[in-house]
Structure formats: C-alpha cells, structure tokens
Amino acid sequence: MTDIGGSAIAAQLDDMALKIMMVEPGDLSMVGELVVLIEELQELPGIEGYPGLQRMGQDLCAVICKIVMTELPDSAENYERVGQCIGLMQEVYRKGVDDVAESGFDAVLKKMEQESDNDEGIADTVQMNASFAEAGLVSISQKVENQAQATVVAAPQGIRILESPPTESMEFLQDLELLTGFVGETLEHLESIEVNVLDLEENPGDLEIVNKIFRPFHTIKGVAGFLNLKSIQKLAHSTENLLDDVRNGVHAMDSGVIEVVLKVGDFLKTMVENLNVVLHEGPEQYKNYDISDFVAWVEAIQRGSVVCRATEVAPPQSPAVSATEVSASAVSPPPKAKIPPMATSPIDNTGSSPAAVAKAAVLPKASVGDSIKVDVEKLDGLVNAVGELVIMQAMVRSNATIAALSDPKLIKDFSQLSRITSELQKTAMSMRMVPIRQTFQKMIRLVRDLSKKTGKEVNLVMEGEETEIDRNMVDSIYDPLVHMMRNSVDHGVQIPDEREKIGKPRSGTVNLRAYQKGGYMVIEIEDDGQGLNTEKIRRKAIERGLIQETDNNSAYELNNLIFLPGFSTADKITDVSGRGVGMDVVKKAVEKLRGKVEAISSPGKGSLFVIRLPLTLAIIDGIIVRVGTERYIIPTTAIQESLKPPRENYNTVQGKGETLMVRQAVLPIIRLYQLFNVKPTYTNPWDAIVVVVEYEGRQRAIMVDELLGKQEVVIKNLGGLSDIPGVAGGTILGDGRVGLILDLAGIVQSLSGHGAIEAHGSVDDVDLTGD
C-alpha cells in the first residue's frame, strides 16, 4: 500500500544530500552542519524501523569526524565518497531493503579509511590549489621552513580548530546585546567586502574600491577589539595592514591580494557564524579557531614573499612560472600575461564579467530609500496580529445579528473597515518580502570559483535582482539554485576550446533571471552550453525501466525525467557536482516551497531551468468545498475545472475503480468523504459536484457536496499535528471555524495503490516519492 504521508526520514536524507553538495575541502563549518544532520537522522521517530540506516549513519558520522580531526584527508575525493554513501543510504531507504552490505556502502567507507594522511596526499585541497595556480605562484613543496628572509611560507590548508580549551576568557559573552549586534553587522560587512573584492578583481586600479574594502576591515578590527574577540581582531588587523599598504601604493593590487582577502573573508565569516551559534546554543559551542596560518599568509603577501603549495593543478611548465613572483616593487598592473594558461585568468577584461555585473547590482543600493532594522520576531508578531485582525473583522461582519441590521451607514462603515484591514494586511505581508538580490549576489562568487575550478569561462548575467521574495523562502531557495548553477557550469557550458570549435564565443553565458508573473515568482537559469543530452536521458530511462523502447515521449518529457530520484547521466562524478545525488533533490526542495521546476533544453544551444514559486508561503488562494458538515480548501492552482457530471459519463472498472469522462479524458474519481471518513450529503457522483484537479501531470475527479466560494486564506499549521496524509494545513474561515487545506500530493497518490487507471503509461506508475 502506498504510504501517502510525507516522511521525515526521506526529507532528512534529502537535506543531507543537499548539504554534501555544498561541502568544499577546507570548509569545516559545512561539514559540521552535515554531521548535525546525520545526528538528527538518528533521533527521528521511526528510525528504529531501519537499523541498517542507523548503522550506516553512525559509520558515516565516524568517518566524517575522522576527516574533521585530520586523521583522514580533507579532500574532494573523500567528500565525493561521502556523497556516494548518502546516495546509497537514500537507495536503501527507498527500496526498503535493509541489506546494507549489498549496497556496497561498506566498500566505499573502507576506501576512505585506507587513505592515510601523508604529506604528499594533503596536496589535493583543490580549492586552495586552483586559486594559487592562477595567481601564478610557484609550487615547491608543502612545508618548507625558511628562517632566512622568510621568502617561503606554507599557506593554510583549511581551517583548523585548536583542540585545547581556549585560553582567552570568554569576556565577549558579557554583553550579549553588543555581541549580537556585532555578529549581524560583521556578516553584512563581510558580504559587502566580498562583492567589492570581486569588483576590484575586474578593476584593479580603482582605489576607491580598495577603500571600500579597507573601511569595513578597520571597523571589524575595532569592534572585535572592544569585545575582546582576540582572534577576529588580529586577523582583521593583519588584513587591514595589507590593504593599507595597497591603498598607499606600497604594495601592488594583484591576484595574490585578491585571493587572500577573499579567503580571510571566508574565515572571518566562519568565526562570526560560530559566535552566532554560541549566542543561540551556549558557550560550550565556542570554537577557538587557529588563525596563525592565515596571519602568516597575510603577512607573507604583505612582505612580498612567494607563497607556495604542493599542487596537482599547477601546469608542468613550472620553470616559466617562476618568473611570476609577486614583488613589492611592481606597482604596475598585475602580470596577467604570465599567468599559466591552464587556469583561466579571472582578470579578463574582454567580456562582461561577474564582477562588472556585481557592480551594476551594487549601484542601485544607493538610490533605494531609507531603511531601518527591525527585529524579525517583532515583525512576525506584527504580521500574525494583522492576520488575526483580518479574521476577527470578517467574523464580526458575518455575525447574523449585525448582518440583519440594514443601517446604510453601518454598511458603509463596514466597507471602509474592511478596506483598511485589507490595506493593512497587504502592507504587513510586503514587509516580509525581501529582494532576491542577496541570494543572487552569492551566485557571483560561486560562478567565479566554479569557472576557475573547471577551467571554463563563464559570464553571469543577472536580471531582476530587485524582485521580491518572502523572507521565509530565501534560505530554502539558495541550495537548489546553487545546485542548478553548478550543473550549468559543470555539465552545460563547454570548455573554451570546444566552444570555439563549434563556433560559439569562448565564454559561456549563464543568465539568472527573476520576475513576477501570474501571481508567481519565477526564477530562470539559462545557459548557452551544450544542452541536455536527450538521447542519453532516454537510454538511461529505459535502463532504469522508467520507459519502454517503444514509448513515444516528447523531448520535453524526456528532459524532465532528470528530476526523478537517482537519475544522473554524468559519466564521471566530478568534484563539482553530480555527487551521486540528482536533480530530484532540487525538485523536492522546490516542491517544499509549493513551487514547480521544469527543464527545457535545445541540444547544442543550451538549457533553461524554470522555477515557479508562490509569492508567499503564508497565503493560499483556494476554493472552499463542503463535504457533509466539514469544509475543505482546494488550492486554485491545482484546479482545472468543476462540474456537475452527467450520469452517462460515469463508469466503473473491474467493479472497483470508478471513472468519469470529462472532455474525452477518463479520470479516476476520488470520493473525498470516503478518504476523510465524513458523512456526505450525496453519495452518487451525478448528484454531487466534481472538481477536476491536476498534480504532477496526473488528473483526478474529486467528488464533493457543494462549492462554497473562492477565497484567499491564511495557512496555519495544525498545532502539534503535522504530516497528516491528504491535509496540508488549516485555516480559519469567516465564521471562525477551522477549515482543512487539502494536500494534493497525498490525495492524488491515494489511489495509486488501488489499481486506478492512469492517463499515460509507465512513467506514472513509478513510485515517485518512494516515501
């Protein structure tokens, strides 16, 4: 029997899959978050039914902890294997098979354990290496100590945490309000620093930008010092010194400086985020980060030393590269000509670039009006109160005694009252909206890093950053967007040589657009790469039994198969994307936000991904229907039509299933009163009303007693009850009673186990959720 409820375990595994995609070597905070997710998995109710999964989770956790403790290398390969393991866990859960050994999970873990932490092996923190390679820096060997003239320094290979208890007393915890303010403001400063650094990369000569980066570091140093946050202060101070040298012309503005400032920014962000965790969860969460490596690095750059790293990305022609020493004496523009051809130079002024676009994105900020900072809790409280006001106002209005009074002035006053309340509600809702700009801007850095890593040239063109999105959705949309961007850069856009061969410009373009249309917020990611390989998808689908050889599926249908679980046509799992988890995770994340995602592609021309999201999660437009004495709300987006069916269109199948013919289509009937155990007014479909709904391409005819009206309702969750099959939430109707909002997914799937007729062949029969 199909389980039509949602499943927390599947959702948790999905979150883990999304998280591993975000992990980069050196990014311990992300790894930490992954560990938390695995631990949460072990605590989920119902996990006892899956002892195999529990064991896998524990083993995986243990291995990841070894990576954190540097007993195992913090390498892209290992994270790839972790990704494989998560994918295997999902499969084990999906198949309901508890035979872990079969899944090969242990084999993958064993491979990871076998790699020992040797010096040469550490050299594969690709992120660091790629950036050094393109900065044109020589690689000698990893830990070269050099007392004389200190020209050679080992760069940090990731973030380390001091294991001994912090010697500095945690004085900064004395003034919590000040600390909270510091955390918020510093994170904002760090974001502006990142945008400005990327901008500076495109315009190395622009001193004003250097100032814009210098100032926030100075501020961070100051406040950190005041709060006695010694590590943050020291690191900010060293960087501030370096920047001071640059703006005074003492040091050249070159890619070495860019790199170090970006990485310092990342590290500071990690430290400040840890402070945030301490604020929320307690002082025992404090991590005393080891900044010595970073400080040494910054100072080395400042002195003009050559920073070296054992690297596998460095081109074999090292001797030529040795000429590109970053020296203090060169005040001229950076030696971009000498950068090895292997890594694509970021300082490429031939085309519009991410940073140029970033500049365009940053400018409008100045012209937007004044804004103030408000505590989010207060804002949410206000919005809730307004919501209740609207309901009470409706209740008073529909009060029978008042309705009976036909005083014209009263009627006029009530009209005015409801107009004002409506206005108030609109304003309150709009306060929760934020421009999607921030999310988009994070993509700039992502694309820049990605294109370096993959050796491709990618222009990111953004449109519509000012489009507003509900603030509660902003966080959830980030991960899917990142995954799709990675796909575009990694699988979509080809390397420059290949592009030239087929007559395309060497740099690929990725368009990131946002706009509002038809009551929806639409986000598009379009690339001009090679498009989806429809033929490959078709073959993979046949292989997995999703379609038959003889099926005639349109290109659109085939392309959208990539959203099915476990689907990945990547030949090789690259470090960048495709860690054994597919686009189905993106689809689930989007659907959690009640949105839809689709893929459109032209082979050779490019691909387009379209995400459609409701403007706000809090309000839904629905049709209120009555079944017996109960009332339910069906979201209008799912409704195709409603009708009073003629008797002759009704048929039964094999004495069990029932169908209705609606405009040539034969649709299965769902008797809502049966599903919900309610006593209805009508038991014959031809006496009742039928509402035709569509969910994921499947149509159903839902039988109800009466249609009561169309209304925008505020979604409320059902107190402590959640995950009720067929029920998405509740709302308070005009008369004060609670109405249940239907969950189409649950309702439509409720028939799958009963041998209902599907409109199309095998694709529909696939148990899409496996939940």
Binding site: M392, L718, G719, G720, L721, I724, G730, V738, G739
Partner: protein, 168 residues
C-alpha cells in the same frame, strides 16, 4: 523505572510541590502543575481531522491559532461521556517535534487550584507497565483525597509524537 522510583522515594518527592490545577475524569481526580497551563476554555466546535488517532478529536480556532484537541478520556481508555456545560478544554504548553506547541485537553470538569506540599506527594505506583508509569509524576494527597498528578509533557507531548509516527 525502579531507579527513578527509588530516587523520588528517597528525595521524598522533592521539588514536586507547588500549585496544581485539579480536574476530573469520571470518578478520578487529576492534577497538572499550573506553570504548564495556558488557559481554560469552555467546550467549542471542534473540526475533525482525518487520519489521526481516535483520541485526537480535531482542531479548534483559538484566537487565530489552530490547536489540536486531545480527548483525555479516550487517551486513558475510559468510556466516553457526553459533553455538558461543565466540559472544558485545558490548553497546555508541551514540547512538540519542533519546539513548544499548544494542545488542548478535553476534560469533564475543572475543580480548583491547590497548593500541594512536597511531603504530600507520593511516588507514582509501579503497576509494572513501563509506558503508563511515565505519565504520572506522583500522587498528591489533599484533604484525605488522592489526586493523580500528570506529567503533561509525557501524556500529551510524547503521545502526539509517537502516534503520528505510527501513521507513516
């Protein structure tokens, strides 16, 4: 369970004393510590929610918030009784799957708030069944009568959580 019982015994119900709201279900009298209680309201229309365990009667609209209602009689396996003008809903704050939630408990009638001292609280009786034993903090003696002191977090909070997993 024995270890916990011994602990309570030796400490003589230490720290359990305080103000309790007493209410009745049939012939039995119960008590809940008042810090857990949000409010008490009279019986009102309850919207049934499908696919929930029997003892979850449904949900109500409490000033704009939707909260679930638990029928205590059913939860304790007692016979059902018709509602009358004395029937009340006690709204309590309990830990839910993600943070504190408010849940309403349907009871026959509410009596009074009494102050029960530590020494008047006996450890819960050990019936030998582990699960039910956890619901009771202890037995309070007031004016010669015995009140069953409920652990709301267990009775309501865990009931909700475990019953919902059974659904999946």
């Amino acid at each position: 369970m024995e270890a916990v019982a011994k602990e309570i015994q030796s400490s003589g119900g230490q720290g359990l004393g305080g103000k309790y709201l007493t209410f009745s279900l049939g012939s039995e009298e119960y008590g809940i510590v008042i810090t857990k209680i949000r409010e008490i309201i009279g019986i009102m229309e309850i919207t049934a929610v499908p696919h929930t365990p029997d003892f979850i009667k449904g949900v109500i609209n409490l000033r704009g918030r939707v909260i679930p209602i638990l029928e205590l009689r059913m939860r304790f396996g007692m016979e059902l009784k018709e509602y009358d003008e004395r029937t009340c809903i006690i709204v309590v704050d309990v830990p839910g799957p993600s943070g504190m939630v408010q849940v309403g408990m349907l009871v026959d009638s509410v009596s009074e708030v009494v102050n029960i001292a530590d020494q008047d609280i006996e450890p819960p009786p050990d019936f030998g069944t582990v699960t039910e034993g956890h619901n009771i903090i202890g037995m309070g003696k007031i004016k010669g009568k015995l009140k069953i002191l409920l652990d709301v977090d267990q009775v309501i909070g865990r009931t909700l959580a475990s019953s919902l997993t059974a659904l999946k």
